[in-house]
């Protein structure tokens, strides 16, 4: 069975988690082409992706860096590291 470390309660079966996808910062005040590129385009090639996950039983959201070629988790990332201000 595939397992993932939940930062809150430790190793759990992968079926308890939801995958949200890469954590990205939306462009503000941009032209339509830049917006379309943000909405649709993705880092598709193998890389270390910073991605958001959700652990259903605990209702816990968290962020990790994962190698999408080897499936290795490289780091748990503090949410403060990826936060950004929403313009007024």
């Amino acid at each position: 069975m595939k397992l993932l470390d939940c930062p809150l309660i430790g190793r759990r079966p992968i079926s308890e988690f939801d995958y949200v996808g890469e954590v990205r910062k939306p462009p503000v005040d941009c032209d339509t082409a830049t917006w379309a590129a943000f909405v649709f385009n993705r880092q598709g090639a193998p890389s270390v992706l910073r991605e958001r996950w959700y652990h259903r039983p605990t209702g816990y959201w968290f962020i990790l860096d994962r190698d999408t070629l080897t499936d290795e988790v490289k780091a748990i990332v503090d949410a403060r590291e990826v936060r950004y201000d929403i313009p007024a």
Partner: protein, 413 residues
């Protein structure tokens, strides 16, 4: 046993002609280089040679012919899609498929089974009605059927689905078929080879060279080649190729898994799909139950299979077919699906002159093998995106002009 076979058995040397050529040196120049020796690459090479007289073509394949998703899929061919663009495109492919065995003089075991997409909820029923109407409008044989008809056609299925998600009806698509995937790739490959195309297996493209925004050649692990046109037909490896050109795409790679049971006597002549339970099944000509589901939950560039897949699939499958609890799973495997946000492919010209893309085949591209080969060959030969694939163009995302095919393609087949 046939007389020919008996005579052959007694012969000292068994010198049947090779299906594929022995490997030879790469030339320094080709007019067209096709990256990827799956069904799509082989079909494109075949039609380039046959319909456009372009034969100075090399197909470069990093592994072996059909070793990618072509040899890993569950071979379902159908045209009951949701969008007019999709329906027209896949219908052209189904019609090409029907004649392939004759065209190749090779049995591709094309077997028309009839295809049920079960609906377990009101909203699924609504999608089925929608699909049936779009299909009928374009002359496709599709209709919504009720429980009685499903019960008659698939008597061994539990319509109550163990009581928690009873089947309400289904979309029935009589032309739904299965075929032998390897034979499709081999048939196209042999046809292309006989017309002068070079096929180089174990040859990996490592870079694509451009000058002033146009393609001038490719680098491979066996040396550099110059060429005027490159067609990328690499399915699950697409982002690695487009990255060589700094060409952004919406494609993300998710593993898609499948498995087969031990063989049992033939009893099931239809294909059954449940969108709500995310599973599908057909019986192969060898008697194995061929089963699949949706993509794995997270991005991964890997063809490893997992226990979680079989466990999740069995959980749903046994609700529909209780007797299957006694069948053993014989083999399981995975492919890498190149998923797009609208579940439609990305095909045709790109912002780089001479670079053509055939990708975004996700979980549904086997059925498109003939039509993709044909339209991509036309596109490269005329340097103009073929009208049938215009809706799938690379620029549709920048134009916010998507093809919303999820309602008909989200269960991988």
């Amino acid at each position: 046993m046939s007389w020919k076979l008996l005579k052959y058995g007694f012969k000292r040397s068994h010198d049947e002609p090779r299906f594929f050529p022995e490997p030879k040196e790469l030339k320094s120049h080709y007019d067209v280089v096709i990256i990827g020796g799956g069904g799509h690459g082989m079909a494109c090479a075949y039609y380039l040679a046959k319909e456009h007289g372009i034969t100075n073509v090399a197909v470069l394949e990093q592994g072996y012919i059909g070793g990618g998703n072509t040899g890993r899929n569950t071979t379902i061919v159908r045209s009951n899609y949701l969008t007019p663009e999709g329906v027209k495109f896949y219908d052209t492919s189904v019609k090409l498929f029907e004649d392939l065995s004759d065209e190749f003089d090779l049995n591709i075991f094309y077997s028309t089974r009839g295809h049920f997409t079960l609906a377990h909820t009101d909203s699924a029923m609504r999608t089925m009605r929608w699909r049936a109407e779009v299909n009928k409008h374009y002359g496709i044989d599709s209709e919504v059927v009720g429980r009685d008809e499903i019960g008659k056609a698939v008597p061994y299925m539990d319509l109550e689905c163990a009581g928690h998600t009873p089947v309400m009806g289904a979309l029935y698509h009589a032309p739904g078929s299965v075929a032998r995937h390897d034979a499709v790739a081999w048939g196209y490959a042999r046809g292309a080879y006989n017309r002068g195309v070079e096929i180089h297996q174990r040859t990996r493209v490592t870079d694509i060279r451009t000058r002033d925004g146009r393609v001038i050649g490719v680098d491979t692990d066996r040396g550099a080649i110059s060429c005027g046109k490159v067609i990328s037909m690499v399915a699950g490896s697409t982002p690695r190729i487009t990255e060589m050109l700094n060409l952004p795409t919406p494609i993300e790679i998710f593993p898609l898994q499948a498995c087969v049971s031990e063989p049992v006597k033939p009893f099931m002549d239809t294909i059954v799909v449940s969108g709500s339970l995310h599973v599908y099944v057909s019986q192969s000509s060898r008697g194995e139950m061929v089963m699949g589901a949706s993509v794995d939950p997270s991005v991964l560039h890997s063809t490893r299979s997992s226990f979680d897949f079989v466990e999740g699939l069995a959980d749903q499958m046994v609700d529909l077919f209780p007797f299957m609890s006694r069948l053993k799973v014989m083999r399981q495997w995975a492919g890498m699906s190149d998923m797009t946000p609208d579940f439609a492919p990305i095909m045709g010209k790109t912002p780089i002159e001479g670079f053509y893309l055939d990708a975004g085949w996700g979980t549904w591209g086997f059925k498109a093998t003939p039509v993709s080969g044909k339209t991509m060959a036309w596109t490269a030969a005329n340097d103009q995106t073929h009208e049938l694939i215009e809706p799938f163009r690379y620029s549709r995302f920048a134009d916010f002009d998507l093809v919303g095919e999820k309602g008909a393609a989200s269960v991988g087949h």
